[in-house]
């Protein structure tokens, strides 16, 4: 599973992209895993206006994740 962070989220985490070797089965489990490793990032991911895309499609709420999924956390967008 690939996890990507965009905008201010990558500043908060100190990374932009990582491979998760033991992929959680749901988005909420992935959030919990990331928050357990880095509580500041966990808070940032739950922040106002943060959206999630799974395999480049926006999802709302929880979602099942396949082992090969690409999960992107999107900070509020600036526009072009």
């Amino acid at each position: 599973m690939r996890v990507l962070l965009f905008g201010r989220l990558s500043d908060a985490a100190g990374w932009r992209e990582r491979i998760v070797e033991t992929p959680p089965a749901t988005l909420s489990a992935l959030r919990a895993m990331l928050a357990a490793e880095d509580s500041a990032l966990g808070e940032a991911l739950a922040g106002k206006g943060v959206q999630v895309a799974v395999d480049k499609a926006i999802v709302r709420g929880d979602a099942p994740l396949s082992a090969g999924a690409e999960v992107a956390f999107l900070a509020p967008m600036s526009g072009g």
Partner: protein, 147 residues
Amino acid sequence: MTVRLQTEPFEPGALLAAFSSGRAETGAVVTFTGIARAAKGAVERLELEAYPGFTDAEIARMAEAAKARFALDDVLVVHRHGPIAPGEAIVFVATAASHRRAAFEAADQLMDYLKSRAPFWKKEHGPGGARWVEPTETDLRDAERWD
């Protein structure tokens, strides 16, 4: 319809020449070029982050919608990402239609949507450090005119 996301600089004149050539039935071509502002020295460099495959798909959706709404013959959007220096072109929009009103309005709407709703993350680097930018109230209101 063409949507291109690229890190390389582009030449607006060359894009216009290519876009408008061979259009015997198109009466009107309107273009807009957005240029990175120095903001009186406050911005030394702009960094525009995109999500390739997601950002361009969303822009294509906006361009398709404008094409249908204004019955355009064609649309071209070229958008840069990565580091951009003041004075460099960031975005180029061209619309082709039978009549000028549709071409003007389509370019206007597309730019309002791109400025406020396109999935980019913009960071300004200046003498005082770096800051993330979000759409201004004006940008948001401009886009709402077309909803």
